[in-house]
Amino acid sequence: MAAATRTRVAATLGRHPVGMILAAPYAVYLAIVFAYPFGFSIWISFHDYFFAAPGAIVDHPFVGLDNYKAVLTDPAVRESFGNIGVFLIINVPLTTALALVLAVALNRVVHARTFLRVAFYVPYVTASVAVVGVWLFLFNSDGLVNTVLGPLAPDPSWLVNEGLAMPVIALFVTWKQLGFFILLYLAALQNVPKELYESASVDGANGWNKFWSVTVPAVRPATALVVILALITGANLFTEPYLLTGGGGPNGASTSPVLLMYQRGLQQGEPDFAAAIGVLLVIGVLIVAWINRRFIEGRD
């Protein structure tokens, strides 16, 4: 009898129903903080949504694709997506290449291992706000970088130059995030079978050949992950244009979509417009991620 009851419970709730209780807080958290806002975001983007006085009951009529039309025809939005394109074209290849090369080099290091790893990881664990302060100081018009460059210093200076503001931000983010990606590549390198290198040596491959024909293909899944995470980091760009270039300057040359979401959605009170930017941004990330997947992981 007891056994029969237990079987029935197991059939409906699983062998360990207590698992539902243990996982419940996390499940509720995901529902409140991710699932519901996710749906809400898409809902807002299709409605005329605005901030009303607290307690006021207001109508938010369905407006179809109006918000999307407004977003897509807005020159500032287009510019911000273009800026992110510039950012990604510099940041993603630089990040991937440097992280892989440094991980391979660090993987073989015997001496000063701790010092070297800490040096490359430390920007990753430090707050952007803190290191932005130093970069402002370094890339200021009379900062150290321009002092060293002397007559070669760009005019207007880095952060106030329309052509250079975004590349400096891309460089900053590469430096800031590289440690994390080195870590991912180091993990992937531990799983590369040693025999592959040995048989390559037997075939007379030199170091460079081995890197290209053994290491690079073997860490391909990690490369796909690194590219996607770098892409998401880039799409989330906010702190750097907000602080480093004084709110996306000069003339909007370093405005990012998320900065625009903050300015238009919360500062100027158009959350529906901002929600539409968010949805388009995510669709953009998904498309680029999908292309990258086909490109890096082959034809499957």
């Binding site: 996982a23 290091v109 664990v125 430090t126 402002l136 100081f137 009379d142 531990q190 992950l225 979509p257």
Partner: protein, 276 residues
């Protein structure tokens, strides 16, 4: 890479490491100089170092109060992540219950939902709907349980041998007891890794607490320092000195913790956690 001599590799690695560390060195030096010296020699001063910039930033930004706010924000996230994250990680790894598959798919999906999509709805809900502006709960809520940490916990509980759990269950131990006295002691290194990884999230976070806190006395240090950088600094005598002093205070706890526990940043742990 036999053709590429070891010495060259070390020279390049050390050059890279010094280049990576230079901004940190410059941050410290700049915070100790009474007036900004951007000459090359100024990066290696021999005298004239002062703590005046720290007093200056402290008079404009309540450093101690901001640090306490950062601490409460970070501590709340750590507490929720460790308690609820471990429970969820254990359940996902070791228990068979209805909805486990669905929950795990959700965990995977959360990893790919970028925060920017949730920015507006979370602001509308938390600040406008629940009235949690300028509160610790409002700051903590979107970060409360770090999904990467849940992943790491799950991964480590999965790696424990099945026999261990079978034996404990045969002895009649309940699941909570097995988790507490059998599984947890064995995954202590993972716990530390996850705690460190979780710590740097809220401690360094700027965008969300910036949106939630408008009152200066509720702002974490990252927010009050950023506000100082973007608004007030132009009026200070040595704005860069004060900014860099604040930056050192903000960076120090995370960097110190990281260096003290850098062994816990073992690449394989975090790699397996991220890869699922």
């Amino acid at each position: 890479m036999r053709r590429w001599p070891t010495a060259v590799r070390y020279v390049l690695l050390f050059a890279g490491a010094l280049l990576f560390l230079f901004p940190f060195y410059y941050m410290l030096i700049g915070s100790l100089q009474s007036s900004p010296d951007t000459s090359v020699g100024g990066a290696f001063p021999t005298s004239g170092l002062t703590l005046a910039n720290y007093q200056d930033i402290n008079s404009r930004v309540d450093l101690l109060g901001s640090l306490v706010n950062s601490g409460i924000f970070t501590g709340g996230v750590l507490l929720c992540t460790v308690v609820f994250g471990v429970l969820a990680g254990y359940a996902l790894a070791r228990l068979h219950f209805r909805g486990r598959g669905t929950l795990f798919v959700l965990v995977l999906l959360v990893q790919v939902i970028p925060f920017q999509l949730l920015l507006i709805p979370l602001y509308v809900l938390i600040v406008r709907g629940y009235g949690l502006a300028d509160s610790y709960l409002g700051m903590i809520l979107p970060f409360a349980i770090n999904t990467t940490a849940v992943f790491i916990f799950r991964q480590f509980f999965l790696q424990l041998p099945d026999d261990l759990f079978a034996a404990a269950r045969l002895d009649g131990a309940g699941e909570l007891r097995i988790l507490w006295s059998v599984a947890l002691p064995l995954v202590r290194p993972a716990l530390l890794t996850a705690v460190l990884l979780t710590f740097i999230g809220p401690w360094n976070e700027f965008l969300w607490p910036f949106l939630v806190t408008k009152q200066a006395d509720m702002q974490p240090l990252a927010v009050s320092l950023a506000n100082y950088i973007s608004n007030v600094s132009s009026r200070a005598a040595n704005p860069f000195g004060a900014i860099l002093a604040g930056a050192c205070v903000l960076a120090a706890p995370a960097v110190a913790l990281f260096i003290a526990f850098q062994r816990q940043f073992i690449s394989t742990d975090i790699g397996s956690g991220v890869k699922g």
